[in-house]
Symmetry: C2
Subunit: 286 residues, 2 copies
């Protein structure tokens, strides 16, 4: 199409893409162009602003490497990653909501007995018990479910980021009892910042946003005949619970504290698995 005014452009691009044989690609790109053009028409960027936007896109691509993905981080801090996750798995009040695996999971966490502590060599911190039950969609307990847990220390570092922690500190693999229950001892994790040395860090600073995720404990729960559940649990008394920089705090993933018989705090973390297959992810590059 020969362009007569800015109003022609969206139709011109849609017509150019109309021959896309893959119907889903045609649908996605058509919607992308309509929404992108609507955005441009709303904000009317100057040429300089447009150039800065393009430079930002170049920057996040080029800052992405084997161990960090600045494009994913940009999607995270704009709420897009959580939005995609929730559209694919809406919170339904029954199934436990999934969360991202994150970059810190390791294979072969130490096998533990119920009640063991995952604190190795006495990392100082505030004592915490975690306990709960694994159930299926009908509410039946899943005996022998496997619970792989990992968390940051009270200074906000995972053991594989921190020379001061022993190997496999704050990691453990538990097996639920015949009633689907599990429990273990740990210390309170701390929140930690997303990487701030790239273009996304610059954006957060320009927006006066803090870069922190609130403290959480990661879980991967598996059982034969059930889909692997990867999630993370937040404690309801934590700082910044309502300002996670990645918008990852879903209400059903906020656990509440109970008090144990001997007066210590215990975090109650129940999990509901769907039918499906056990799929263990590849370990992320540390």
């Amino acid at each position: 199409m020969i362009i007569d005014s800015q109003g022609d452009l969206t139709l011109a691009v849609e017509q150019a893409m109309a021959g896309t044989p893959d119907g889903r690609l045609r649908e996605i790109m058509g919607a992308l162009v309509r929404h992108a053009h609507a955005f441009i028409r709303e904000v009317r960027p100057s040429e300089e602003e447009f150039e800065r936007g393009l430079d930002f896109l170049v920057g996040i691509g080029q800052a992405t490497g084997e161990t960090n993905n600045e494009v994913v981080l940009a999607a995270d801090v704009l709420g897009v990653s959580t939005l995609v996750g929730l559209l694919n798995k809406p919170l339904d009040g029954v199934r436990t909501a999934p969360a991202l695996l994150g970059p810190f999971w390791r294979k072969n966490a130490p096998e533990c007995a119920l009640g063991d502590s995952i604190v190795r060599c006495g990392t100082p911190g505030s004592r915490l018990e975690v306990r709960g039950q694994i159930r299926d969609l009908s509410g039946n307990p899943i005996a022998g479910a496997r619970i792989d847990v990992w968390q940051a220390s009270p200074v906000g570092l995972y053991e594989n980021q921190d020379a001061d922690q022993p190997a496999m500190n704050l990691r453990g693999l538990f097996t639920a009892d015949a009633s689907g229950h599990y429990h273990f001892e740990t210390i309170r994790p701390a929140g930690y910042p997303v990487p701030t040395d790239g273009p996304v860090g610059d954006l957060l600073r320009a927006q006066l946003r803090h870069p922190y995720r609130p403290a959480h404990i990661h879980f991967m729960v598996t059982a034969p005949g059930h889909a692997t559940l990867i999630t993370q649990i937040f404690a309801d008394d934590q700082e910044r619970l309502d300002s996670d920089v990645t918008f990852g705090v879903l209400k059903p993933l906020v656990a509440t504290f109970e008090t144990t018989e001997d007066g210590h705090p215990a975090l109650r973390c129940d999990f509901v698995l769907e039918p499906g297959e056990t799929r263990i992810p590849k370990a992320p590059i540390p």
Copy 2:
């Protein structure tokens, strides 16, 4: 905000960005998030589709180097670059519409007398005369305006891309006469493809789109007291005039053919300059 459903997310992100001190950044990012979330809600990408989209963004950033900008190219082939240009300088029927400088302009084109040919050493091709007048917004001729022209050869290559062409072939710098008129001899340029060896080339192939820009001649027109005009002119009998892969064919930039007194085709290219300053761009990296 603790997220209770996908419907919470847009407001959550807007609230997180509400403290941005720069009002324009706040406005742009707020609109970006609203439009991006609306796009995601419309197409509901699966996790795999979302990952492919993020990988595409990483890919165009990483394919960008000193001599090619795949992010700009993506904006071009989605009509976004032309849209931004037209919003900043709407076609008003008076001022000549600007166009991109492009990567092939060179400083210090050979100084030519009116009527000279810019074909050096007999590059074969179909003879073409180009002529026109430079005027101001009131229609008064601008005597002595300088017209810098450059174009691709009939095989679609600029001299600095093509070992078979002599240096500065198909480039020239002319000075309008006292009535603002200029004319020169050349040969018909050919269209040429945008780079197709990166992720944008993959996208064009998946959309069954050709990668060509229709043939055009570039002009940079300067005169004291007037803003530098950078534009490009298309001839109205050219192939793919209505399917420029970058949506750059603006109706007022399509010139028509006249016939010279001796029966040769002549392309009529008049230019209207606005008041302003002469600004010569930095030469792009060849």
